[in-house]
């Protein structure tokens, strides 16, 4: 039962976001959230639109100046598209540190998977292969109606082969990313929330005093869940409805905690928040101290299991 509940939680966490550990030269692993295919497709479409507008502007200029024959303008246009987009992707990614304009708008970024900086080689490779992996399938889709059976089959096979890579690789890498050793991440957003352990006063800490054995029921996961809940109040955009729902959750949690840790003193409803804050501070101090002594407690199941093994 406990085992099952635990695996369930792990699965839920990993499904939500694609987190990758990343080792920079400093040797402290950093976690990055891998960009999904949807946002990358969005950035690609934006980039195509940008380059396309650029080409259209030039073609219109050419048409006004001199070349009146439609056929020539078309040829020049498709040629320009080719000659503008390759430098566009390479230069933007190189000089803006892995961001084209489209990526910049959607806040994603190319990084080198080995933890070093992006090399010109990696950028060139991932954007040259883009020709075969992204633009060739698009072109094939347009020309497919005019092909014979084998041509259609070969085109479909190629389009399929290009799509398989990103879907099945863990870091959502396409073939060019593999060869270049790069992948795409969400740009991290750094926002420092207040330290909750300091939100409780000495008076509160004295009023809600906890015994050491009362602290031995929960682990880091529960502590941080409680923190997330309490932090919600500090955000500026709290509607009346969410506040009411928060209150309800808090009441339920207080009841649960009191039962679990055998806290017998009565607590008035208006003190629930202060109680939880005091409990958070005391529990965190306790867990951090245990952790310093090599007794790391991930969650309550780990603790329960340990108690059971000790008892047996």
């Amino acid at each position: 039962m406990t085992q099952k509940a635990r695996t369930k939680r792990v699965v839920r966490k990993s499904n939500l976001r694609l987190i990758e550990d990343f080792m920079p030269p400093e040797g402290v692993p950093i976690t990055f959230e891998t960009a999904g295919l949807g946002v990358r497709l969005g950035a690609q479409i934006l980039d195509i639109l940008i380059t396309f507008l650029f080409v259209i502007a030039i073609v219109i200029m050419l048409a006004i100046v001199d070349l009146s024959r439609g056929e020539t303008v078309m040829a020049v246009g498709s040629l320009l598209f080719f000659f503008i987009r390759i430098p566009y992707y390479i230069l933007t990614e190189l000089f803006w540190n892995g961001e084209t304009l489209g990526k910049r708008m959607l806040k994603i970024k190319v990084v080198s998977a080995d933890g070093r900086s992006l090399t010109p080689h990696a950028v060139v490779v991932r954007n040259l292969t883009k020709e075969a992996e992204v633009f060739l399938p698009i072109a094939l889709m347009f020309t497919m109606p005019g092909m014979d059976g084998w041509g259609v089959l070969a085109s479909l096979a190629w389009i399929g082969a290009c799509l398989i890579g990103p879907f099945f690789s863990k870091k959502r890498q396409r073939l060019g990313d593999f060869i270049a050793g790069t992948y795409v991440i969400h740009k991290p957003v750094a926002r420092l929330l207040p330290d909750l352990s300091r939100a409780t006063t000495v008076q509160h800490a004295e009023r809600f005093a906890f015994m050491p054995h009362q602290m031995d029921h929960y682990g880091a996961y529960e502590l941080q869940t409680l923190e997330t809940l309490l932090q919600r109040d500090t955000s500026k955009t709290v509607t009346y409805e969410t506040r009411r729902r928060n209150e309800e959750t808090m009441d339920a949690i207080v009841t649960r905690i009191r039962r679990k840790i055998d806290y017998s003193d009565p607590i008035e409803k208006k003190d629930h928040r202060d109680f939880l804050k005091a409990f958070y501070a005391a529990q965190r101090a306790h867990l951090e101290q245990r952790q310093l002594f090599g007794d790391k407690r991930d969650d309550k199941y780990q603790l329960a299991e340990r108690n059971k093994n000790n008892g047996a």
Partner: protein, 331 residues
């Protein structure tokens, strides 16, 4: 709060918070304007504060259960990492390094593969030539009709001559553009890209291209137009066919990494060999571009056979000297 309970990890955080705020400010500036435009103080502090933040993160992971702190430090360190390790390239430096050093060096390192590319083309040409002399109907087997443009065994000698020395109605930019998407560019792209499948497709495609070339030349030689076609082809063909052979060399390099990775993993080998192969591909692309200019403009402007020969082979010699002499380091 003044009378707050201060536990160890909260003290840790309190002592360092100002440094992190400063780092965040520098990183934001670097993200907006680039690391080049930071002031001296900011640039100096960025590096040291980044290392401090990484250090803090590592400590915080051990001693703190403050989720707000851990998430913030992780994001801050990640952003600072991205700012510190941004590529510091200048366009001019990049281009000159490619032309003066890395491209010719890559060519020399892959000389064997490039020579194999030329060999494939040469063998194909000889085979095509001999086969045509044996039986002219091979010509139609090798050459797709749209490429031949009416120049086949059935065409008269006069017609062939007129194609070689004609003032084409459409020239200049239009011809240039249409050329680039023509047969040979496509061949070069395929020859390079398909090389990854164990070399064979690259070699065969180049060989086939040689067959076409051989048969085409044989047709003209048979009609006594040998030198004329040599001039017609040379002016851009020396550059263009070399580009295909070099692209083939790049493809063979990729294929050989797949076939013979040695002690490395295949993906690793592919990545390493890919570095030179990509440079070969870029060299081939530059040469095709030059060939397009020559074909679009040079062939119409220069009608004399000898001048055509001189220009074509002269430019070929320039390419060769670029590959052979540029970027040698004195030891």
């Amino acid at each position: 709060m003044d009378n707050a309970v201060l536990i160890r990890s909260a003290r840790f955080r309190q002592e360092r918070e100002n440094d992190w705020a400063r780092l965040e400010q520098i990183v934001t500036a670097a993200e907006k304007r680039g690391v080049h435009n930071l002031s001296y103080d900011d640039a100096r502090d960025l590096a040291s504060l980044y290392r401090q933040a990484a250090n803090s993160l590592s400590v915080a992971r051990e001693i703190s259960l403050d989720k707000a702190l851990l998430q913030y430090l992780e994001a801050l360190t990640a952003r600072a990492y991205l700012a510190v390790y941004a590529p510091q390239e200048r366009l001019g430096g990049l281009v000159s390094r490619f032309f003066l050093k890395s491209a010719p060096q890559a060519m020399r390192r892959s000389a064997l593969f490039v020579l194999m590319g030329f060999l494939a083309m040469f063998l194909g040409a000889v085979a095509g030539y001999l086969l045509f002399l044996e039986n002219p109907s091979w010509y139609d087997v090798f050459l797709p009709a749209d490429l031949a443009g009416g120049r086949g065994p059935g065409a008269s000698t006069e017609y062939l001559r007129s194609v070689i020395y004609q003032d084409e109605a459409h020239s200049g930019l239009g011809a240039f553009a249409s050329f680039l998407f023509s047969h040979n560019t496509r061949i070069a792209i395929f020859v390079f890209g398909l090389g990854i499948f164990a070399c064979a497709p690259a070699f065969l495609l180049t060989f086939y291209n040689g067959l076409i070339f051989g048969a085409f030349v044989a047709l003209h030689v048979e009609r006594g137009l040998g030198w004329d076609i040599a001039g017609w082809l040379s002016i851009h063909g020396v550059t263009e066919l070399s580009a295909i052979c070099i692209a083939c060399g790049g493809g063979l390099k990729l294929g050989s990494a797949v076939l013979f990775p040695g002690q490395r993993l295949r993906t690793e080998a592919l990545r390493e060999e890919g570095k030179d192969a990509v440079k070969l591909a870029i060299v081939a692309a530059i040469m095709l571009f030059a060939a397009a200019i020559l074909e679009g403009f040079g062939r119409q402007l220069v009608q004399d056979m000898n001048t055509r020969l001189i220009i074509g082979w002269g430019i070929g010699a320039l390419w060769l000297s670029w590959f052979v002499f540029v970027g040698r380091e004195n030891k």
